[in-house]
Amino acid sequence: MSMNSQGRPSEPKISGAGDQAGKVTFTGNRGLEHEVPLLFERAGNFETTGVDLPMPKRVQSRLGGLEREEPIGLPGLTEPEVMRHYVRLSQKNYAIDSGLYPLGSCTMKHNPRLNEKLARLPGFSDVHPLQPQSTVQGALALMQTLAGYLLELTGMASVALSPKAGAHGELCGMLAIKAALEARGDKRSVVLVPESAHGTNPATAVFMGYKVRSVAARADGTVSVEAVREALDSDVAAIMLTNPNTCGLFEPEIVAIADAVHEAGAFFYCDGANLNAIVGKVRPGDLGVDAMHINLHKTFSTPHGGGGPGSGPVVLSEALAPFAPVPYVLRDSAEFRIVEDAAQAKSDGGDPLGRLTAFHGQMGMFVRALSYMLSHGCDGMRQASEDAVLSANYVRTELRDLFTQPFGDRVCMHEVLFDDVFLKGTGVTTLDFAKAMIDEGYHPMTMYFPLVVHGAMLIEPTESETKEDLDLFIATLRYLAMQARKGNAELFTDAPVLAPRRRMDETRAARQPRLVWQPGIQAKT
């Protein structure tokens, strides 16, 4: 696309399908993109193996007569076949390394490769969680160092590293709150959750037996201290508030809200999904937060890996610190020691809420996150937050004349939220708009979240983009908005036409679920 001097595209030829987009080939392949049969459909591979192994020792079987007799039904591939199978599959995926990935709330920032290299050092990757503690002093020191960084960045008293992901951390934080209330003999049954919250918040509260009381947002998308006060009573255990919130806004009354919550004898759980906007700028501990999970895979760049693994350490206030789950790391003079047993923790003065996972948490992610923190340093982390906020506001400013903002034109944090009012009457929905972005080579923004905003489009550019790339992204969205306005609806409703697949029939997938491959049964190809 050619650009004029303002960084806007000069009017391109209509892209969309193009004449050759529907071309049928003999193989079904399309240039660099190959059709890949399932592992199970590669005939004759059920006897093959791609792993050479030593001969088993000749021994009398000691399996107690429970030998598996039937073949399992797993095909094996030699190494060349396996490389091709997975490389070809990989070529059907969008990734941060291939383009801007503006998924709001998900924080698709650059994943430094140094972190991958360090996590693979045998001293980290080839260490067993139950080795004697004297043989893992470096691993424990790393956990302790990471904990120190997290506490300094958040201004909190204590951290539980073991939760496996954000939602798991959220459960951990809420369990600590419940344990603290029980320890003081205080039975409370309600948790306050704003309407715009992540779905995990109410799911966690209800799992723990709490009733969820919704708190409405103001017209500007934030929660008022009055609304919180109105919802508070002596039966409220906690409020679960995301800050910056899911609309990309910093809650301006957060300190007053924390005070009101504390006055009512309740606790403040902060969903830390959006911590990446404020690292090095604001410390949640200074705002009155009692517990907050930190998504190492968002804020501290551990790779999302196509859906995990995550890592969700939870920072806790002084009041909640004694209830942290096992395990945790302590330092006794020169030695590090990991406390794995709740009774032992009690003798150390704690009152742990229990254990949330076997072993010690996502060590591989701890190494990567610490590598990120050391690389950036205090200055770089602060700069990263500022650049993320700057980039989101730049996108907002450059789009605001064509797109519509649900809460008026106001500064945002690391992500900017639009609604679908600007698409009204065009025959184009948020979904259509997102799919047209795919044809232009972009991963869509987060769609239809938060639920409180109609046709929501949540754009998080992150700090990892150059200005030039932001400008092209902005220009592309402007172009698409103009096409919608001009009535070129097919550009959207047919999209995507240039991706490895057209739109998928999700209704069929749900109505006739096929969750495993079975011979002779497959959807029509």
Partner: protein, 448 residues
């Protein structure tokens, strides 16, 4: 800063375009006095060389499993991982992609998840599996919650052969969600009577197979007894390689099978990230937690895959969700499925035979030491020995002699004096004759 592409000149132009004077004008909603004037009190950014040196120093203070005779198991196992596995999972398109919410540009992830689900279901002998959980222990916790939902009962009976840390996870979830857990005592000899504990309040019985002591037992009688009272059998498999050689839990009547998939494709990594496996019967599909990938067609009728049945999940159902789980363990599931597709059933069976053979040889050598008794009769690649002394002290003495010789059961179960003399020993394909000789000599020297 090497990871931040915006330059000062860019920032100035962007601030101007936004119409503000400085960056802090974008932080106007932060309450007065709460915006930090200075960066936090932490070191400044470092070069790649410096970070590598600093973390490399910490790594060197740990004893890597591959550097010593190594026999530690108990829920995490040292196996050899083919080089191609780690190469493939580091491809950008797998490593740096998000959850496949836009299926048209995520078919790579979705197809391997579909293949993964099929492999897991077949290994477990079950109808279907999900796209993975955080790890084996959290999968076990979720399985118990699912059994509660299905049976509308709230008591789980936990075998004394279940990994104590798995039991503790279930206990934590039970305690805080108003459910009941009836856990039996440590059961190294396989003498527990699970069946008589099952009553009309029981939603499920959960057993480990092979159990934490390494023991293999026929689960069919437990399944029958549970089903007779309207309860389910949940089986946890922490050494998934075993299923290359022994009967699947599905064959023996399990209703939900969970597993730790680390042994296939994933390194020890001091306990995580690992990959939880979760399989069940068709009729329970809609009660499953976690992500599911399903087959469908696109607008042109081409086969493809999508995340499906998401009406079970928190982002749609919110407080009515089957679980608060949001993430799976995608990249670890990828490592698992690649390694397993290299092995195939032929390679997996042979790998399992090598493991079993090595364990049997080691067990016989250890049994020949005066003062050491092998207490496990039927086992796969892990078994329990009784030593004439405190097991923890003996493990430490072995460590001093350069052998990581297993796990003292007292580390997992510190308050049960009856198991203070038990060590769980694992032997996989990585152990050589020389490793075994060093271990046996060292133990002989210690217990003499």
């Amino acid at each position: 800063m090497r990871y931040l592409p915006l330059q000062e000149a860019d920032r100035a132009v962007m601030l101007q375009a936004i119409g503000v004077d400085g960056i802090d004008d974008l932080f106007v909603d932060v309450p007065a006095g709460k915006l930090l004037d200075e960066p936090p009190a932490l070191p400044l950014g470092k070069t790649e060389m410096e970070v590598e040196r600093e973390l490399g120093r910490l790594a060197s203070q740990n004893v890597a499993a591959g550097s010593v005779p190594f026999f530690v198991g108990c829920g995490a196992y040292k196996h050899h991982i083919p080089a191609s596995v780690d190469h493939l999972i580091q491809r950008s398109e797998f490593l740096t992609s998000y959850t496949p919410y836009q299926p048209e540009i995520s078919q790579g992830t979705l197809q391997y998840l579909f293949e993964f689900q099929t492999q897991v279901a077949r290994l477990m002998g079950m109808d279907l599996a999900n796209a993975s959980m955080y790890d084996g222990s959290t999968a076990a916790g979720e399985a118990v919650l699912m059994a509660h939902r299905i049976t509308k009962r709230s008591k789980a009976i936990v075998s004394g052969g279940l990994h104590p840390q798995y039991r503790d996870v279930i206990e934590t979830l039970s305690k805080h969600s108003g459910k009941v857990m009836d856990a039996l005592h440590a059961d190294p000899l396989g003498q527990e009577d699970l069946v008589s504990r099952i009553d009309d309040e029981t939603s499920c019985v959960i057993v480990q197979y092979p159990d934490v002591y390494g023991r293999i037992q026929d689960l069919a009688p437990i399944a029958e007894a549970a089903h007779a009272r309207g309860a389910l059998l949940v089986v946890a498999v922490t050494e998934i390689v075993s299923l290359g050689l022994i009967k699947s839990p599905g064959e023996m009547g399990a209703d939900i099978v969970v597993g730790e998939g680390q042994s296939i494709g994933n390194g020890l990594s001091f306990g995580g990230p690992y990959v939880g496996l979760f399989a069940t019967r068709q009729k329970f599909t809609r009660q499953m937690p976690g992500r599911l990938c399903g087959e469908t067609v696109d607008a042109e009728g081409k086969r493809g895959y999508v995340l499906t049945l998401s009406t079970r999940e928190q982002h749609i159902r919110r407080e009515k969700a089957t679980s608060n789980i949001c993430t799976n363990s995608g990249l670890c599931a990828l490592a698992f499925t690649i390694h397993l597709s290299l092995l195939g059933q032929t390679g997996l069976k042979k790998l399992a035979e090598v493991n079993h053979g090595n364990a049997v040889v080691l067990a016989d050598k250890l049994a020949a030491i005066a003062g050491v008794e092998v207490v496990t009769q039927a086992f796969f690649n892990e078994f329990t020995i009784r030593v004439n002394g405190d097991a923890g002290t003996i493990i430490d003495a072995l460590t001093e002699r350069g052998v990581l010789g297993g796990v003292a059961m007292s580390r997992l179960e510190p308050h049960d004096p009856s198991i203070r003399d038990l060590i769980i020993v694992a032997s996989t394909e990585v152990n050589t004759d020389a490793d075994r000789a060093v271990f046996v000599a060292a133990l002989e020297d210690i217990v003499r």
